[in-house]
Symmetry: C2
Subunit: 328 residues, 2 copies
Amino acid sequence: MPLGEFGLIGRYFQCAALEQAGGHAKVALGIGDDAALLDPAPGCHWVISTDSLVQGVHFPDHYSPDDLGYRALAVAVSDLAAMAAAPLGFTLALTLPRVDELWLQGFSAGLAACAAEHRISLIGGDTTRGPLNIGVTVFGEVLQGRALRRSGARAGDLLCVGGPLGEGAAGLAVVLGQDLPATLTGSERDYLTSRFWRPRAQCELGAALAGVATAGLDISDGLLQDAGHLARASGLALHLRTTGLPHSPALQAWPAALQLDWMLRGGDDYVLLFTLPPEQAALLERWREQGWAVSVIGEAAVGEGVWLDQQPVGGADGYQHFKESTHD
Amino acid sequence: MPLGEFGLIGRYFQCAALEQAGGHAKVALGIGDDAALLDPAPGCHWVISTDSLVQGVHFPDHYSPDDLGYRALAVAVSDLAAMAAAPLGFTLALTLPRVDELWLQGFSAGLAACAAEHRISLIGGDTTRGPLNIGVTVFGEVLQGRALRRSGARAGDLLCVGGPLGEGAAGLAVVLGQDLPATLTGSERDYLTSRFWRPRAQCELGAALAGVATAGLDISDGLLQDAGHLARASGLALHLRTTGLPHSPALQAWPAALQLDWMLRGGDDYVLLFTLPPEQAALLERWREQGWAVSVIGEAAVGEGVWLDQQPVGGADGYQHFKESTHD
């Protein structure tokens, strides 16, 4: 792959590449050739996911490049967590309108911070001139037979989430400064801003789910829509209870109805949604002791679709790109 | 990864995914979950390369979506060929200004045609609304120790190319309709148009070079610039002879000086440039019998830089993005 014309990748992103490369004997060849080489562990699947971020669609026009760099990698790593995979490396395809040194320094610093948290190496990239577009492809590994797919849930399984819901949507409202309630405190504002810009991909929880949970994914489009994906892929119904949903104290300044709407339909939470056989329920307590805010929000049953308080809600009730299109 | 909002990936790209998936037992899980799963062969490196294509930079404003789909994948696969890797799969991150069914049908058909030629499967993707941007990440495998890197050339090695030079640049001139000579024939025009839009990644030649050539890459930025990459990475000088360069009969309608400039500095040729120990020279004849238009254009020597007819030419003498930038 081109290595970043004018050495952009080499000049600005070495911190994400080299500091981490030492931690990964599996990166046999990183930035600097036509392609990167990774060495797989025996008996593992390779896990691959790709995402692109576009200004005005995935992030607002006003942002800090540092936050954007962190977020671009974090949302991609979340897909690895959702497969119960251990993150290994990533590539960056960066389209930029111009070479802006301050922007690149900030963006690469945020990217490197997220890479360091997940011990993941930048192994290659491509930079191009054009409207801002950030493409991240992430690579991980998982033992064969242990990947956490969307299919596999069984009737009777507990439906669980890995953390509070609605913080991504509330974070976006704070970032956009939309009708913020007067009672919102400074610390709530800071916390929610950070939840939007610096989501924490739940890789440790994902790894703990490998071979235990029957199905799972990460909530990026909103609880109801992502539950719909899981229900369809597993060929069963998911029954949720409003009273079981994990509330975030950071949302308390908003009206209760808006809080609930964000919890059900807000995107960008990046917490895991998974099904657990009832005989494994004791694990939930152990995980909570480890600091993971897991909770049971419903159960899987024979049937189809997503049900909230015994009412069908459909599965496509969340955030979608191309929303003005008539093609759905 | 999101599977293409509104099922775009599933609706338009199944032909690239499913038809090929049957040929690859190594794709354990393709489109439809948070990530794809690939199963590595024992003793292989995984080879990964990413590229993005932007309108007005990598392709002109007037194009056929079918050609664009072919080209987007072909240029990425060429990076696998340049590592002597066997192609396995790819992901597509597609940013589109709107959902245009005709465009998507054409683009996916071209993509599928290139995928079929290389027996490579689409394993996942992401579609987003925004200015047109095409990100392709390709995956392949190569036996450990057999990857064709840019480093590794030794003084005395023969410098070789895998086909005629300058056809990519001439093809672009034809595509743009720039000052075309009156003597250009219809068949030359068709051939060169095809060379620009449908470059043939030299995967078979790359595989034949594994364990034989000492270094190699694909010529995407122009012979002199790419030779500079190889010289630097290998820590030696490359001496080229003008008389040794493989001429393309399709360029004969243009002035000789322009032909030479395209051969030396034109981009988009996507033929392999590699170094071969002199004791392996007999292979060249065998490869030519197989139909690969390989030729010797110079040799590696102690020293540094790229030399043409005993004059130093530097290594950065070719096409670059961000060309109006002052940051180089």
